[in-house]
């Protein structure tokens, strides 16, 4: 049984293109300090994937550095999928930047495979961001079609000729680094050599994952039984009331759905490799998109894809955006296979602890709303509160900055244990009872002697340091702030971080 004839449309260096940088400018997208994608111009200068940031910038000093944002990639790709959908039904998104569609019907309509590739690529070119390119290829099966699309534009592998087409490619193209490494050491360097092994031997030696790779190398679909339609009751649907207009609200609901779908599947010993995300709006519009994945989709991976898709719909261009809020979300597993059972540790592993915590926090979000539970990331900034970025639980946490940069005027460690969101008003006077003021040249009128917080009794100052001036955003008059900070210890209570701004004192933080 040969694989389904498939067209894959592939946009090279999509994360760079989605960021709006043309291929002529040297640019690279980074995640965790490593290059995940770079433009053609950067590649010419010697930038490659997995390179460290410093090395990449060393090779190409005027490199444009872009942080990875998968939601942005997916959002920019949505118009591409929409335009292909107009020409052929059943588009499956492989990842932002690549999608596949079965060619049987569309090819006949267009007048052959070659004509189909040409017309699809031309249509896609009209909606691509400036500077982006796209290539198409047709072969038997998604993997081979993807290889054809990457190999050159408009390659059509004749039906049945896919194994010969794949044979000369190196084994690393299987995208399974450990297996490829092992195969190379066994003397198997090309897909053709790998495909020549007997399928039973490969399964015996390399397990289900090796067998799946062997099927790919042989020009077959990854799974022996393709497109098994699962029973209906696996569909998970959630009605949104009030309708969700914002991505985060809908994505929060989607996370619970992904968990539930995963539970339903795993209770039947199944895993999902292709999921259809459906949505209905308050004006009766129906949206649907299919996402396909090489391996089984974990609940997290599925929730990610749903969020990207919702982002593509709700934050997209006017062409694709629905006219109203979403009232219904549905996850339909389109293709399921047996789960390759992975045994978790007998004694609760670290992952089990994380999962238990995640469940508890999800319940709190259910009680109070998605924004009520937060996680914190430390970023740059001067004040003890400004250094912290709060991210709702479940949203991707931004990478902390790679290196500590100097922030002139930052209060030295240790940091205060309580940072007041609403700083209490304070009064500070010198030995003669006159209010202490700080001049424009940052000089103190007299040493502070006594402090009172919010009208409380006066406390004697036992030690003080300051003023540390903070002159922020002087280039932006409305946001311009000029403050001075003091650290003060008193005879009563904990040490204080005081702020004076335009003559008014307040307690910014407490070292309690």
């Amino acid at each position: 049984m040969s694989a389904t004839r498939t067209l894959v449309v592939w946009c090279p260096d999509w994360p760079v293109a989605a960021a709006g940088v043309g291929s002529a400018a040297p640019a690279a997208v980074f995640h965790a300090n490593r290059v995940v994608a770079c433009s053609a111009a950067a590649r010419v200068e010697g930038v490659t994937r997995h390179q460290r940031r410093r090395e990449a910038q060393g090779r190409c000093p005027d490199l444009i550095v872009i942080e990875r944002d998968q939601a942005r990639d997916a959002r920019a790709f949505e118009p591409v999928v929409a335009v292909i959908e107009e020409m052929a039904v059943g588009v499956q998104v492989l990842r932002p930047g690549a999608c596949a569609v079965a060619t049987r019907g569309p090819s006949r309509y267009a007048g052959g495979d070659h004509a189909l590739v040409r017309s699809v690529v031309d249509a896609v070119a009209t909606v691509l961001p400036a500077g982006a390119a796209c290539q198409g290829g047709i072969a038997d099966g998604v993997f081979a079609a993807g290889m054809a699309a990457r190999h050159g534009d408009g390659i059509v592998v004749p039906p049945g000729a896919t194994p010969e087409f794949l044979a000369p490619f190196p084994v690393r193209t299987l995208d399974r680094p450990e297996l490829a490494d092992l195969l190379r050491r066994l003397g198997i360097t090309t897909l053709g050599q790998f495909a020549a092994l007997s399928a039973a031997d490969v399964l015996g030696r390399f397990g289900p994952e090796g067998a799946a790779a062997h099927r790919l190398a042989s020009g077959l679909d990854e799974r022996p039984v393709s497109g098994r339609v699962p029973p209906l009751d696996l569909t998970v649907a959630v009605e949104l009331d009030p309708p969700a207009e914002r991505v985060d609200v809908a994505a929060f609901a989607a996370r619970g759905m992904a968990d539930e779908l995963h539970t339903r599947l795993s209770s039947r010993g199944l895993s999902c490799t292709r999921v259809r995300i459906e949505a209905e709006t308050e004006h009766g519009e129906a949206l649907a998109r299919v996402w396909r994945h090489d391996g089984p989709l974990t609940p997290g991976a599925m929730a990610d894809r749903v969020r990207w898709q919702l982002d593509g719909w709700l934050a997209g261009t006017a062409r694709t955006r629905p006219s109203g809020g979403l009232t219904l979300l549905r996850l339909v597993p389109e293709e399921v296979g047996p789960a390759d059972g992975r045994q978790t540790g007998f004694w609760g592993s670290a992952a089990a602890v994380d999962e238990r915590a995640a469940r508890a926090l999800a319940r709190v979000q259910g009680m109070l709303g998605p924004d009520a539970v937060q996680t914190a990331v430390i970023t740059g900034g001067r004040g003890p509160g400004e250094q912290v970025l709060l991210v709702p639980w479940g949203e991707p946490r931004p990478e902390p900055p790679e290196a500590e940069r100097p922030w002139p005027g930052r209060v030295p460690a240790p940091a205060p244990a309580s940072v007041h969101a609403a700083p209490p008003v304070a009064e500070v006077v010198d030995g003669d009872g006159r209010a202490v003021v700080v001049t424009g040249r940052c000089a103190v009128s007299a040493p502070p002697a006594r402090v009172s917080i919010g009208g409380a009794p006066w406390a004697d100052v036992t030690g003080w340091a300051g003023p540390w001036p903070v002159d922020e955003r002087w280039w932006d008059p409305p946001a311009h702030r000029r403050r001075a900070r003091f650290q003060v210890t008193t005879s009563a209570g904990p040490a204080l971080l005081l702020t004076v701004e335009a003559g008014a004192w307040s307690v910014a933080a407490t070292y309690d």
């Binding site: 709190v364 009680m367 914190a376 940072v419 040490a495």
Partner: protein, 201 residues
């Protein structure tokens, strides 16, 4: 004969017993605050009340956090995240519920279900029935509830900061450095006899 069989069973049980390096009911604490807790660990299923210091509460959470436990802070909108990180709390495993509103008790109960160390600032008027329910929940789930403030039900361990001395701050110069805190320790069980300890944070 029967006796010999029983003896060998005893031996077998002794051999088969999993060896544990520490008491399973204790969560490890950082060395800086080990003096404050009996047995140098936080006993699972107990309530600790810390009065007069957020830093001590954060420092107590640092040890379990370093040992892969999760930490949550409920009703502590003012908690200093940078201080928490400096004291050793892993921010990757810290969840914040800054404003639980009127649902304080329900949120703490829900969080205790899945998180080992829960820091919480109780509302001004906490009902004794809610407090009792949370004590039972902590005991049932094996979590530690660290209350920043007084606890109406009498905590298992009560830490009251009575004195503070700062190093590093002069008269118009320097900056705050380390602090020496005097802590009065009371509570139940191993902590029943009142004593006093000093910690440097």
């Amino acid at each position: 004969m029967a006796l010999a069989a029983v003896r060998s069973l005893d031996v077998a049980r002794e051999l088969a017993r999993p060896t544990t390096t520490a008491d399973e009911h204790l969560l490890p604490v950082a060395p800086s605050v080990a003096d404050l807790v009996p047995g140098a660990g936080l006993r699972r299923g107990t309530v600790v009340s810390v009065i007069g210091s957020t830093s001590v509460a954060l420092a107590l959470a640092a040890g379990p956090s370093a040992a892969d436990s999760w930490t949550a802070a409920v009703g502590m909108a003012d908690v200093g995240i940078v201080a928490a990180s400096e004291l050793g709390v892993d921010l990757d495993r810290l969840a914040l519920v800054p404003d639980p509103g009127s649902e304080w008790a329900a949120v703490v109960a829900a969080v205790l279900d899945g998180i080992d160390v829960v820091l919480a600032r109780p509302p001004a008027h906490l009902r004794p029935a809610d407090a009792r329910r949370l004590v039972a929940r902590a005991r049932d789930r094996g979590g530690v509830l660290i209350v920043v403030g007084a606890w109406p039900e009498g905590a298992d361990l009560r830490l009251t900061v009575t004195g503070r001395e700062w190093a590093g701050l002069g008269d118009g110069h320097g900056h705050l450095g380390r602090r020496r805190l005097t802590v009065e320790i009371g509570g139940r069980g191993a902590a029943a006899r009142p004593r006093r300890a000093q910690v440097v944070l």
